[in-house]
């Protein structure tokens, strides 16, 4: 099976380790991963801010980059939602949408794999559901099942499905509200050392705020956590 990794702009710059772990994980599951070099940004920041022509340019570019890919896998729920939900409207074609998957979604729903390893034995994790993965893609159980089947305990968190306050440009245009939202998430965290999420934006937001508050919590991408789960047993 051939898969093109869409690393996404945040992933390329800020989560290169996580993206490399996603590649390792997919390869270990017998997936042939390629990386079309002309990929850039899906255009979501422009779309969300209401700049449609710019978003269209980036969507057109992205659709061309991945035109020949069997599957496009993204280590990001939000960018996947952009491809799945907004591209069909922007580009007037559902074509790329139907081939694009968030990483955990791809592993569980396409590869039909749930047991990836036991490398998370005894770990206590809080899982932050990114809004777009959860509500636009309907990805809710997949990451949790992967983590739990690897031995982690996903600790109940009353605010695990509430927005972290990132929201792309929202975080810098309305920073006071954005930070208050992050605080609500952090203030309700259960007693865990690690918070995992499939979305880079959410991780930057929550980690940036937690570091400012000097909270000793580790923020990990889902891709790296899953690779840890896999590697621990291989």
């Amino acid at each position: 099976m051939r898969v093109s990794l869409f690393v996404t702009c945040l992933g390329d710059r800020f989560f290169a380790d996580a993206a490399a772990d996603a590649v390792r994980l997919l390869r270990s599951l017998d997936v042939d991963v390629d990386f079309p070099p002309n990929q850039t940004c899906c255009g979501q920041p422009a779309w969300n801010a209401g700049h449609v022509p710019e978003a269209l340019d980036m969507a057109t570019h992205t659709a061309a980059v991945f035109a020949d890919s069997d599957y496009v896998v993204l280590p990001s729920g939000s960018c996947t939602a952009m491809l799945r939900h907004t591209y069909p409207r922007l580009l007037d074609s559902p074509e790329l949408a139907e081939r694009s998957y968030e990483l955990a979604e791809f592993i569980v729903d396409v590869l039909k794999v749930i047991e990836i390893g036991r490398g998370l034995e005894g770990r206590q994790i809080a899982y932050h559901h990114g809004c777009h993965a959860l509500r636009e893609l309907g990805v809710e159980q997949q990451p949790v099942r992967l983590l739990e089947s690897a031995g982690a305990r996903v600790v109940p968190w009353e605010m695990d499905q509430e927005c972290c306050g990132f929201g792309g440009l929202f975080s810098v245009k309305t920073p006071e509200v954005s930070v208050a939202m992050a605080d609500r998430k952090l203030d309700t965290l259960p007693d865990v050392q690690t918070v995992v999420s499939a979305d880079g934006g959410c991780l930057l937001q929550l980690e940036g705020r937690a570091r400012r508050r000097r909270m000793p919590i580790r923020f990990r991408s889902l891709a790296s956590t899953l690779w840890e789960a896999r590697r621990g047993s291989t």
Binding site: C131, E176, R211
Partner: protein
């Protein structure tokens, strides 16, 4: 009501930083509402109900003229004075003549968000009329001189402690009075007003065209009293409130109550169809009933093919309760009558995008509102329409537009993009903190730590 939405960010900042109790009060109350709502729908097919409700409301809105005329005919048959008002000043003129002809001295008011749009209280006061809000929450904010902070719970931003202090100062209740004691104090005072008021004013949750019935949902009994005790009753009804059939009403009453507070239905539901004692009409009730059908921007919104669906709203407030942005500030940050997600899509249509353009951006596009809307308003899509228009009309920041244009032109040239990424990584921390946008980020958060190499560089070197 004056529109003060352009300084949304400043107002939000002020509330969060200077009045932190507001955030606590609003968060606690909305979380309770959300929990009660999910319990109320637990054993029901909420999606099927919302699909039905969506279809009924959309049908009513696309046949609005017919149904409004049908409602008018039924109401007139039973002796109701029906008025059509296009603007707030039309409504004011209608009240002016009612007040003059009947020598009205005192008004008791049931909760009505529409009356806030129309700035009715200041107008009545300018006519020399004394106005009492009779909903407990509305009464609290009337004493404080504040507008409502929530569609359903107008004083949601106030804590019990706030009310204790207020009532102690204004009504002489003990400083540590129980909630029951506070409610009793308001009740004692308001009971006298109900009995001596000349005129009762209400809104209307629904107007049934088939029967000419105005339905009102409440929990305190103050609407029942306001609409039945005074000699005259005036109901302000937004034209979008119409339902075609009598049999539509029970389900709408239920989904509205369940969505709002989680109650099976409000404690009191009043159905008003005309004055008491008229031939062929109601056996009792006020001597004179007026229904004012108010447009105030609704026709313009209805004619807008991209956003008209906002008019399906039944004002349950479920989207406010679930909205994590709303929860941080309550409604006052939004600077106009309707707050939260529904305000962000409705206010630009009612009073113009120029005055309200920051509101559609007061959202992370998290989509939680869409899932709870009982009439399936596609709120995130409508937010996006207003965002796009704000950009197209040049209302948003020109710097942001330049940055995004640059970003897009780099992102369509992969080489340039990789180069720009590397250049960005070279900017030292102290400089990052001074750049626009990054300055906003770092005011409350540490800047992201860029990994040494980009992924594309690693890929080129080979991933082991």
């Amino acid at each position: 009501m004056e529109v003060r939405s352009r300084d949304y960010r400043e107002r939000a900042r002020h509330i969060i930083e200077d009045t932190p109790d507001v955030r606590e009060a609003v968060t606690a109350a909305t979380i309770t509402f959300v929990e009660n709502r999910s319990k109320a729908f637990a054993d029901l097919d909420a999606e099927a109900l919302s699909r039905w409700a969506e279809q009924v409301k959309s049908h009513a809105l696309t046949h609005l003229g017919d149904y409004l005329e049908e409602a008018e005919a039924r109401l007139v048959e039973r002796g109701v004075h029906v008025h059509w008002a296009e603007t707030a000043s039309d409504v004011h003129q209608i009240f002016k003549s009612i007040v003059r002809e009947n020598d009205v001295q005192k008004v008791v008011k049931a909760k009505s968000m529409l009356s806030e749009e129309l700035a009715l209280n200041p107008f009545l006061e300018s006519c020399g009329v004394e106005v009492f809000e009779t909903d407990l929450g509305e009464y609290i904010i009337q004493l404080l001189g504040e507008p409502p902070s929530h569609i359903v719970g107008p004083s949601i931003h106030k804590s019990l402690e706030d009310t204790r202090v207020l009532f102690h100062e204004r009504l002489g209740t003990p400083r540590d009075a129980s909630p029951e004691r506070l409610a009793a104090a308001a009740r004692d005072l308001l009971r006298g007003q109900f009995l001596t008021a000349d005129l009762g004013v209400s809104g209307g949750n629904f107007l049934v065209a088939e029967t000419g019935s105005i339905a009102l949902i409440e929990n305190e009994g103050n609407i029942r009293l306001s609409t039945s005790v005074p000699r005259i009753h005036v109901a302000l009804v937004g034209i979008e409130k119409v339902l075609p059939r009598w049999t539509d009403l029970p389900t709408f009453l239920q989904i509205t109550s369940k969505s709002a507070t989680g109650q099976p239905v409000g404690t009191f539901v009043s159905i008003i169809q005309g004055p008491g004692g008229a031939a062929g009409g109601e056996p009792d009730g006020p001597e004179e009933v007026h229904v004012v059908l108010v447009d105030n921007g609704r026709t313009r919104l209805l004619a807008d093919p991209e956003v008209w669906e906002a008019l399906r709203c039944v004002r349950c407030g479920a989207c406010l309760n679930i909205c994590p942005v709303y929860r941080q500030t309550g409604g006052h940050a939004y600077g106009y009558v309707y707050s939260g997600p529904i305000g962000a899509i409705t206010n630009p249509g009612l009073v113009g995008l120029e005055e309200t353009w920051p509101l559609p951006f007061a959202s992370t596009a998290c989509g939680a509102c869409k899932d709870v809307c009982p009439v399936r308003i596609p709120i995130p899509d409508l937010l996006h329409v207003w965002r796009r228009r704000a950009v197209e009309r040049g209302l948003t920041s020109p710097e942001e537009a330049s940055v995004l244009r640059l970003w897009a032109s780099a992102a369509t040239r992969a080489r340039l993009f990789g180069w720009a990424e590397n250049l960005a990584a070279l900017v030292p921390d102290w400089a990052l903190r001074r750049l626009p946008m990054l300055r906003e980020w770092t005011a409350g958060r540490e800047p992201p730590r860029a990994a040494g190499q980009t992924f594309r560089e690693r890929w080129d070197e080979g991933i082991e």
